[in-house]
Assembly symmetry: C2
Homo-oligomer: 329 residues x 2
């Protein structure tokens, strides 16, 4: 029996790369002698913290908004997001001259809310624990004729995020290096799905690993079960960007097939990784953006002697939280 | 009358590039849409914060230590430094299997002292305001038969730092972009001298500007006077890396001929630049490393409509100082 087609192909990612090229930052692959010494691996960092809006989310958002037909653009766009997708959509809408409304949790980092407004978007707050963000966004979409821009379960969004993997593969190929392992964080799983398709198109043997906050391990549970499962955690994590309840439907169709493993790191391990990034990498990484690095540093997979790519997916963290983390570690 | 030869040539920088290539990080040129929007310029950032040891100093140190004849290596090396040259020399010595002794001010950042020791160097502390670091280092050199590694006034060190400019020129040339202005911080002036030679070898019309902490403007005073002058400031700046009293002799021979201008930024402007780098660039930059960016952001030269390269020379800053700066700005 042949597998059903995946929701996107590497050709979709090639198209997305051309669409976003004039506006997205082509982030470099960085190496760190101190991280290599610490882990015994040859590590390459993909710092999406350096991306426009401070996270990879701009890629998918811009690709999606660019796909909206001209006659539908006047209605604007609406999105729900804890903050990084919010900024990505707001910035993409600003560039394309569209109105954006973003539904954000009231407890999302202040800097993320302020920066979203800074890109000209209207921000509507909701309570993460009692209200349904999809319902709120859906109501706004129908009232205003706006296009809903899902944070991950959308082929254009997934293809946009996949450009992260395409750049990783291109840069490694140019260096003549074959990656053993590529690790990316996941909330809904769009980033890691896109990366898996792009990287495995060039390096079929590479193992793609998804990293989640401890307890918010819905990808790990779903991969074990063979179908989508919610995480069981009703507590909180400071990885505000990675709190989705369950993997996306389209994203999981990819991830179930292409991912090799799922690992997780707790808040203490993530804090240590953020402090390492401050002290040794000189990169500002937000909690959710540091989960893959934390998984590497805390030995959640066997990296010694291997060539490992770590995606640092975002750097949007409030100054007071950041200050407390670097002072405590 | 022809000018006397400069102490180094771009061929020396080419040689240095080959020497350091296996061990130094080839730092990327980064762009930031938000910085372009803020300044009205097309800005490229050269983030030497991502360099091995967290500053550009590794380049010059490794090139210098590699030039020491095998029969002189057993005596080890000695250097005086507020912290970045210290780490550069210590890391280079560790790689080359040499003993390093570093004379550091007692008030240098704790992280710089600890990291210098972490590279296996012996650290000797002195009082920045009452003791003569050159005399202390000289005494150690004669006692131990060690080679003194000057922080800037040495052709091998200058050539090593010049590789920063060589990479800037190469990367811009590959993009088909001609820089109007390149700005780098200076203490003794080795970095900006090396950059000036390398950049102007490819882009003769580019203006090279040196940035200093306000009050510690010995390059500005010397350029006006036409000969080396000390700064008149007996106060302190939090730009601990940029407190040299007077430009180097060799470095000023270059800088006097090749630099277009000297600008300065005060601690408040530097703090604002560090906070901007945290929030928008997601790069950890130390005070001395942020002076060029601060000069751009505070309008100390005319950047609007121009292509400007800003060197972020180092990122070694203690967590508590960094936390206070990002919380205050």
């Amino acid at each position: 029996m042949t597998n059903p087609a995946l929701p996107i192909t590497s050709a979709d990612i090639d198209s997305a790369a051309a669409v976003i090229a004039p506006f997205a930052v082509r982030t470099p692959l960085l190496s760190s002698p101190s991280l290599d010494a610490l882990t015994g691996a040859t590590v390459f960092l993909k710092p999406e913290v350096l991306q426009r809006t401070g996270s990879f989310k701009f890629r998918g958002a811009f690709n999606k908004l660019s796909s909206i037909p001209q006659d539908a653009r006047a209605g604007g766009v609406v999105a729900f997001s804890s903050g990084n997708h919010a900024q990505g959509v707001a910035a993409a809408a600003q560039i394309l001259g569209m109105q954006a409304t973003i539904v954000m949790p009231a407890d999302s980092p202040l800097s993320k809310r302020e920066r979203t407004k800074g890109y000209g978007a209207e921000v509507v707050l909701y309570d993460r624990y009692t209200e349904d963000r999809e319902a709120i966004a859906g109501a706004i979409a129908s009232q205003r004729g706006a296009t809903l821009v899902r944070p991950y379960d959308d082929p254009f969004v997934m293809a946009g995020q996949g450009t992260v993997g395409r750049e990783i593969a291109q840069d490694l190929a140019a260096l003549g290096i074959v990656p053993d392992i590529v690790v990316a964080p996941a909330s809904g799983g769009g980033l890691v799905a896109g990366i898996a398709i792009a990287v495995k198109a060039r390096f079929a043997e590479a193992s793609i690993i998804v990293a989640e906050p401890a307890g918010f391990d819905d990808h790990a549970r779903s991969m074990r079960a063979g179908h989508r499962q919610a995480h069981s955690n009703d507590s909180k994590t400071f990885c505000d960007a990675l709190m989705a309840l369950i993997p996306g439907e389209l994203t999981f169709a990819v991830n179930q097939r292409l991912l090799a493993d799922a690992v997780s790191a707790n808040d203490a391990e993530v804090g240590a990784a953020m402090a390492f990034a401050f002290r040794d990498l000189k990169l500002v990484v937000e909690p959710g953006g540091a989960v893959a690095l934390a998984s590497l540093m805390s030995g959640k997979f066997d990296a010694r002697g291997k060539t490992v790519v770590i995606v640092l997916s975002g750097g949007n963290v409030d100054a007071d939280l950041y200050a407390s983390i670097i002072n405590a570690n």
